[in-house]
């Protein structure tokens, strides 16, 4: 059973456009929500993260929006660039040690 549901599976965006990736969860014990970026042949790298007491966090062109009541969170990439083409994973951690990852979104930004 997938603890964190991620959509879409793949996304194609024009350069300069906005990329939006969504994740949903059911476990109310989750207390930390990171997003990871992964390039081919590399391990995932932390992009941005949020905790449930905050509704939005912005770092440069990357923004996490968090809706605690709906149990949903999303990643917005503003002014998307070809260099942003990668696979993105959302994740959630419950109190303790275990992280649960979404199934990933393959983003392609067309020049």
């Amino acid at each position: 059973q997938q603890q964190v549901k991620q959509s879409p599976q793949s996304l194609i965006v024009q350069k300069g456009g906005i990329s939006i990736i969504n994740c949903a969860y059911e476990n109310t014990a989750f207390d930390y929500f990171p997003w990871y970026q992964q390039f081919p042949g590399k391990g995932p790298a932390l992009l941005i993260a949020i905790r449930p007491d905050v509704s939005e966090k912005k770092e440069g062109r990357f923004t996490i929006s968090f809706n605690k009541s709906a149990k949903q969170f999303s990643l917005h990439i503003m002014d998307s660039q070809p260099g942003d083409s990668a696979t993105y994973f959302c994740a959630a951690k419950e109190t303790g040690n275990q992280f649960y990852f979404g199934t990933g979104t393959s983003l392609t930004v067309i020049p």
Binding site: Q6, D31, Y32, P34, Y36, G41, K42, G43, P44, A45, L46, A49, F89, A91, K93, G96, N97, Q98, F99, Y100, F101, G102, T103, G104
Partner: protein
């Protein structure tokens, strides 16, 4: 990066053979993790360690064992490899459980 090295980076082996993957970190992180990455499943936790000789199971631990005899090394062993264990394996570490995990670049394992 957190200085995590995985070895080997690629391995091809036959069904029924034992396989050991190694993860080495230079950050003195307390926590270490082994994941497998498969299309349509994302990353799934196999085992993790919260200190030397302290390990616990993740959501897909069947057929795998781990050992951690030193802070910097975390070994993943497939006692008798099966084709269903063909995957890309990632090691990760963090200093505290509520901190971001840092990942290695993975081991691509093919079991024929």
């Amino acid at each position: 990066d957190a200085g995590i090295t995985q070895s080997p980076r690629h391995k091809v082996t036959e069904t029924g053979t034992p396989v050991t993957l190694r993860c080495h970190q230079t950050e003195n992180h307390r926590y270490m993790y082994w994941y497998r990455q498969d299309p349509g499943h994302g990353l799934r936790l196999i085992h993790y360690s919260y200190g030397v000789k302290d390990t616990d199971k993740g959501e897909v631990s069947d057929g795998y064992s781990v050992s951690r005899s030193k802070t910097e090394d975390f070994l993943l062993t497939l006692e008798s490899a099966t084709s269903s264990q063909t995957s890309v394996y990632f090691c990760a570490s963090n200093s505290e459980s509520n901190q971001p995990q840092h990942f290695g670049d993975g081991t691509r394992l093919s079991i024929l």
